[in-house]
């Protein structure tokens, strides 16, 4: 088996494992893993926005809430079927995401973060204040996506939506847009001087990632059956950031694995009460200190090295020249 085939097998293995997992889980853990797909959608799309494009936004949960509430309100007030409601939620989140992206065009670094944080907090207050419309802190009841009591349909739907979203984001990153986004992250002025219309691509990435967050919110609302303004709290956003950090802020699969890992770990530690947040905080701190590119990225890099060792290496004479030798070439 060639290196490419082994690499594909490496990615197919966790997908196949996820597909055969439900019968092995009890209803509680099936629910936990199904909810983790929601977080995986959020973490992966946030990684595209913040890790690849450098737009460190704290508004991501607000876009999830826009998607969820749009679908929930359409279902509650106009009896719109959930799939159509979720599509409307995606559209609403994308439109608001584009508007926020446009407003943030001239903001960089901490200013962008503060702006998006303020947007999220204002949106949360709006959800609380407009209780006649949103049911405020009491929560908005949202009809289920599927009949029956089993979480299995939600498990597979969530996983399918995750795979589809990952495929779209992967395609974006593999295209020239991916190079433009990374160039913009690295140096916006240099990207402009290289002919990249950074405004256009910043709005594009805000729109795309907000749409995916809206999709996640729509799925989540119809899965758990209730939406509250707690969806938009800072700890919820912090949880998504933590998932991305643990998985690797420049890795889509890393973010997915990080999301499942952190969410499952937090459930395993539920009996420890508030101590679980201390433990999760320690995991994040240790990751930042010893594996800044994320635990999953680190593990994947190690696995990649093992993979290369087991396959006869293709000679790469130029890349293998030590730096001192390269200096001679240039100097």
């Amino acid at each position: 088996m060639g290196q490419g085939a082994r690499s594909r097998a490496w990615w197919l293995a966790p997908i196949l494992a996820a597909l055969v997992l439900p019968p092995l889980l009890d209803s509680y853990w099936l629910h936990v893993v199904s909810v983790s797909w929601y977080y995986a959608l959020l973490a992966a799309s946030w990684v595209l926005l913040a890790g690849y494009a450098g737009q460190f936004s704290f508004a991501h949960m607000a876009f999830a809430a826009i998607g969820g509430y749009t679908s929930g309100l359409l279902a509650a007030n106009l009896h719109v079927p959930p799939p159509l409601g979720i599509l409307c939620g995606i559209l609403a989140a994308a439109i608001v995401g584009a508007a926020v992206g446009w407003l943030c065009l001239r903001l960089r670094g901490p200013y962008l973060s503060l702006f998006t944080l303020a947007f999220a907090l204002i949106f949360q207050l709006f959800l609380i204040a407009e209780y006649q419309f949103t049911r405020g802190s009491l929560g908005l009841s949202v009809p289920a996506l599927f009949g029956g009591n089993s979480d299995i349909p939600y498990y597979y739907t969530g996983f399918g939506l995750l795979l589809a979203s990952l495929a779209i984001m992967h395609a974006v990153l593999r295209s020239r847009v991916g190079i433009f986004l990374r160039a913009t992250r690295e140096d916006e002025d240099a990207a402009e001087a290289s002919g990249i219309d950074t405004s256009r691509y910043k709005i594009l990435v805000f729109t795309l990632t907000s749409a995916i967050a809206g999709l996640a919110g729509g799925f989540y609302g119809h899965f758990v059956g209730i939406l509250t303004p707690n969806l938009v709290t800072i700890p919820e956003m912090g949880l998504v950031v933590a998932m991305a950090v643990v998985g690797g802020v420049e890795s889509l699969p890393g973010a997915v694995i990080g999301a499942v890992f952190v969410y499952v770990l937090s459930e395993l530690l539920r009996d420890t009460g508030q101590m679980r947040f201390v433990i999760l905080g320690l995991v994040i701190m240790l990751t930042q200190r010893f594996a800044q590119r994320g635990l999953v990225t680190l593990a994947l890099a190690g696995a990649g090295r093992l993979l290369r060792r087991s396959v006869p290496a293709v000679p790469e004479p130029e890349a293998a020249i030590p730096l001192a030798e390269r200096e001679k070439h240039v100097g």
């Binding site: 240099a190 130029e318 240039v330």
Partner: protein, 241 residues
């Protein structure tokens, strides 16, 4: 407007608060010309490069590129019109590979369909700059001089009509300095229009046929290097007299 000028800046003014960084400067550059732009610190050279590349908009005056008025246009539009530039301190896409640094500008012009041709062009540019062995390295792993060369290569990938080089020799190891001088000479021989800003009078004087001197935001001399460096105004500007 100077007839036949590729770059035509007229009466340019740029203020930062109460300071007039560029103060009524007029400059015309013909196609294929290699000019040096020198001046003491704070004379407005980098501000002029920023104006000519669209990074800044002038408060007064006009900038024309091949007769097209460019005032108020964004930097990526200037780049799209064939204005390539480098920065005083290299501003590379540091966590991207050397090859990706070259692909980014070219992909803005031809789209994904021509990627094969772009990669071929990038390989040519890397070979021209003697950076071929480093194509898959991250840009941040390069030495200072190599970063200057890569920035030059990135600008070349725009197929520029004019190259604005902001202090390409600053802080470069003497070994690499000769390399950069040779590359600039070769680009000029190939017909590139180049505006070169630097403090290194020896390097600039030996390269260019025309030297423009700035002081306090204005052009105070314009001519052959021999004539300009003998000018009393230039000596005064450099000695602070």
């Amino acid at each position: 407007m100077a007839s036949g000028a590729l770059v035509d800046a007229s009466g340019l003014v740029k203020r930062f608060g109460g300071i007039r960084a560029v103060d009524g400067l007029t400059l015309s550059v013909a196609p294929g010309e290699l000019i040096g732009l020198i001046g003491p610190n704070g004379s407005g050279k980098t501000t002029l490069i920023n104006l000519l590349s669209g990074a800044l908009s002038p408060d007064n005056g006009t900038i024309r590129l091949d007769g097209t008025r460019m005032n108020g246009k964004a930097a990526h539009v200037f780049a799209g019109q064939g204005v390539g530039r480098t920065f005083q301190i290299p501003r590379l896409f540091r966590r991207m590979t050397v090859l990706e640094n070259l692909l980014a500008p070219a992909l803005t012009r031809t789209g994904a369909r021509g990627r094969g041709a772009i990669e071929l062009r990038a390989a040519e540019v890397l070979a021209f700059l003697h950076l071929g062995a480093l194509a898959q390295n991250e840009a941040r792993a390069l030495s200072g001089g190599q970063q200057k060369l890569l920035e030059l290569g990135r600008a070349m990938m725009l197929e520029p009509r004019v190259l604005l080089l902001d202090e390409p020799f600053a802080g470069v190891h003497p070994k690499l300095l000769g390399e950069i001088v040779d590359r600039i000479k070769e680009l000029s021989r190939r017909g590139y229009t180049i505006i070169l800003v630097d403090h290194n009078l020896d390097a600039v004087g030996g390269l260019v046929g025309r030297l423009v001197v700035m002081a306090r935001g204005r052009g105070i001399a314009d001519g052959t290097p021999e004539d300009v460096l003998r000018s009393i105004d230039v000596i005064d500007a450099y000695t602070g007299a």
